[in-house]
C-alpha cells in the first residue's frame, strides 16, 4: 500500500496549472484535487485483466505459480516467445503510473459557490462536497445536488472530495454527477489553448472515460437558474447509509406551469444502471404537457426503466436494478412535484 514514485507539481495560479498540464501531457500527468479517488487508485495494486496462469513448464509444476510474470519459461523454451510479448504488456499495465501529479490545493480561485446576476449557480471545481452539503442556497434551489452531496461517502470523504474530481472520474454511480445531469449542469473545461463548455450529460463516454483531452482541466460547473415552480430530488439506493456506492441513483428535476399544473419540462438522470449516468430522454416525451398525476407518473417511471441498461454485479442484479429504477424514479418525481408545492 505504498505510493508509487511520482513527482508532485504545485501550481500557484490556474494559468501555471494549464501550462504544466500541457507541458507534461505526454509523460503521464494526473490532476490531484481531493485525492479521495486518485490516491486510492495509485495505491491499489493494479491487477491486469488477464494474467495467464502457468500451465506447467520445465521449471514449475502446473498451478505452482500464480502467473507467468514470476515464471519466465520463455528463457528455456523458444516456442514460448509470444509469452514474452504478453509479459511486457502485463508489466506495462502494472507500471502504468503517472510520472507527474499536479496538486491544485493552492488554487483558491477554483473553490467556492457563487450565484451570478442571472441567478445561475457556479461551483468551482475544487469546492468540497462538504461545502456543497452546507450551502443553504444550493439546498433551497438546487436541492438534488445537496442531496447528492449528503449521500456521498462519509463526512471525512466529503471534507476532502471535490465536485470537480467526482465528475472528472466519470463513475456511473458518482453522487454529484447524477444530480448534475438532471439539473442541466455545464462544465467549464480549460486548457492552455482556450476554454470550452460541455454539458454534464454528454461529458462521460464510458466508465472513467470522458471527452476531456490531454492538457485540459475542469475549472467549474454552472447550473441554470431554476424557473418558478420547479423542484428537484435525488435518492441513492444502497445497502448501507454511509461509505457506500449506489445500486441505483435517481435524480429528478421538474418544472410545472403552476403547482399541480402541467409539466413544462423534466430531466431524469439515472446512475449505476449504465456505463455512465444516463439522461432518461423518454421520460420527457411521456410527461411534458401532461399533469403530474398518478397514472402519468407511473408511465414516466416505466419509461425511465426502459432507458436504463443495468448489469449484474456484486452490488445487485440487473433484474433488481431495473425494478428499482422504476420505483425510485416514481418516488422522486412525486417528491419533486411536492416540493414545487403540488400534491400527487
Amino acid at each position: 500500500m505504498i505510493l508509487p514514485r511520482f513527482d508532485v507539481l504545485v501550481p500557484n495560479s490556474v494559468d501555471e496549472a494549464f501550462a504544466m498540464l500541457s507541458r507534461y501531457a505526454e509523460k503521464g500527468i494526473r490532476i490531484l484535487a481531493g485525492g479521495t479517488d486518485l490516491l486510492v487508485d495509485l495505491r491499489r495494486p493494479i491487477i491486469p485483466a488477464a494474467i495467464p496462469s502457468c500451465e506447467g513448464c520445465a521449471r514449475h509444476k502446473s498451478g505452482s505459480i500464480r502467473s507467468t510474470v514470476d515464471c519466465g519459461w520463455w528463457e528455456s523454451d523458444s516456442s514460448r516467445e509470444s509469452d514474452r510479448a504478453l509479459l511486457t504488456k502485463v508489466q506495462d499495465s502494472i507500471h502504468k503510473y503517472p510520472e507527474y501529479i499536479i496538486s491544485l490545493h493552492k488554487l483558491k480561485e477554483l473553490r467556492g459557490i457563487a450565484v451570478n446576476e442571472k441567478v445561475n449557480l457556479r461551483v468551482g471545481a475544487m469546492t468540497t462536497i462538504t461545502d456543497i452539503e452546507r450551502s443553504g442556497i444550493i439546498r433551497e434551489k438546487w436541492t438534488a445536488l445537496a442531496e447528492g452531496a449528503d449521500s456521498l461517502g462519509s463526512p471525512l470523504v466529503r471534507n476532502r472530495g471535490t465536485i470537480g474530481g467526482n465528475i472528472a472520474n466519470a463513475r456511473p454511480a458518482a453522487d454529484t454527477f447524477i444530480p448534475s445531469v438532471a439539473l442541466g449542469g455545464v462544465l467549464d473545461i480549460h486548457s492552455e489553448k482556450g476554454s470550452r463548455k460541455v454539458p454534464v450529460d454528454s461529458f462521460a463516454s464510458a466508465p472513467g472515460e470522458t471527452v476531456m483531452e490531454k492538457g485540459e482541466m475542469i475549472t467549474g460547473i454552472e447550473y441554470p437558474a431554476p424557473p418558478e415552480f420547479s423542484g428537484s430530488a435525488y435518492y441513492k439506493l444502497a445497502n448501507r447509509k454511509a461509505l457506500e456506492i449506489c445500486n441505483v441513483g435517481v435524480a429528478v428535476w421538474i418544472a410545472l406551469e403552476k403547482p399541480g399544473g402541467p409539466v413544462t419540462d423534466i430531466r431524469v438522470a439515472l446512475g449505476a444502471v449504465g456505463p455512465t449516468p444516463i439522461l432518461a430522454e423518454s421520460v420527457k416525451e411521456v410527461l411534458v404537457g401532461k399533469k403530474p398525476e398518478d397514472a402519468n407518473i407511473k408511465k414516466a417511471a416505466k419509461a425511465a426503466r426502459e432507458d436504463a441498461t443495468p448489469i449484474d454485479d456484486h452490488r445487485g442484479s440487473a433484474w433488481y436494478r431495473s425494478m428499482m429504477v422504476e420505483l425510485v424514479t416514481d418516488r422522486m418525481i412525486r417528491l419533486a412535484v411536492e416540493r414545487v408545492g403540488g400534491k400527487v
Partner: protein
C-alpha cells in the same frame, strides 16, 4: 511522515484507502483522512493529531469521557474517533445523537463498540 519522521504514532494506519478513519487528523480544523493527503498538500496548514488533545499532560474532557464510559476496546480506532468528535464538538457543541452518529459514519470500529463511543461524546456534549 507523521508517524515515522515526526514520531507521532498516535494516529493509526488502517486501510490506507480512505475508508476506516483511523488516521483522522484535523487539517485547518477540518477532519481529514491523513492517508488521503500528501504531505505537500499540508504545506502551511495547521495539522492537529490526537497528541494535541491532552491539556497540560492530562487527558482532556473528551478523552477522559472515552475512558470513563469504556468507549475503548482495542483502541485502534480511538485516535480517529477522538479527532472526528473534536471537530464535531467545535462546530456544534451540543449535537444530537443523530448528529453524532452521522459525524462518526466515516470512522469504523471493528470491535463494533459504537454505542459507548456515542455515549462518551454525548456525555461531553450534554454539559
Amino acid at each position: 511522515m507523521v508517524r515515522e519522521d515526526l514520531g507521532l504514532t498516535g494516529s493509526k494506519k488502517g486501510c490506507g484507502i480512505g475508508d476506516c478513519g483511523a488516521c483522522t487528523m484535523l487539517v485547518n480544523g477540518v477532519a481529514t483522512f491523513s492517508c488521503m493527503m500528501l504531505a505537500i498538500q499540508a504545506d502551511g496548514c495547521v495539522v492537529e493529531t490526537v497528541e494535541s488533545l491532552a491539556e497540560n499532560g492530562k487527558l482532556n474532557k473528551l478523552q477522559q469521557s472515552f475512558v470513563d464510559l469504556g468507549a475503548i476496546q482495542c483502541g485502534y480506532c480511538t485516535p480517529g474517533m477522538l479527532m472526528t468528535a473534536t471537530e464535531l464538538l467545535r462546530r456544534n457543541p451540543h449535537p444530537s445523537e443523530k448528529e453524532i452518529r452521522l459525524a462518526l459514519s466515516g470512522n469504523l470500529c471493528r470491535c463494533t463498540g459504537y454505542q459507548k463511543i456515542v455515549d462518551a461524546i454525548k456525555a461531553v456534549a450534554g454539559e
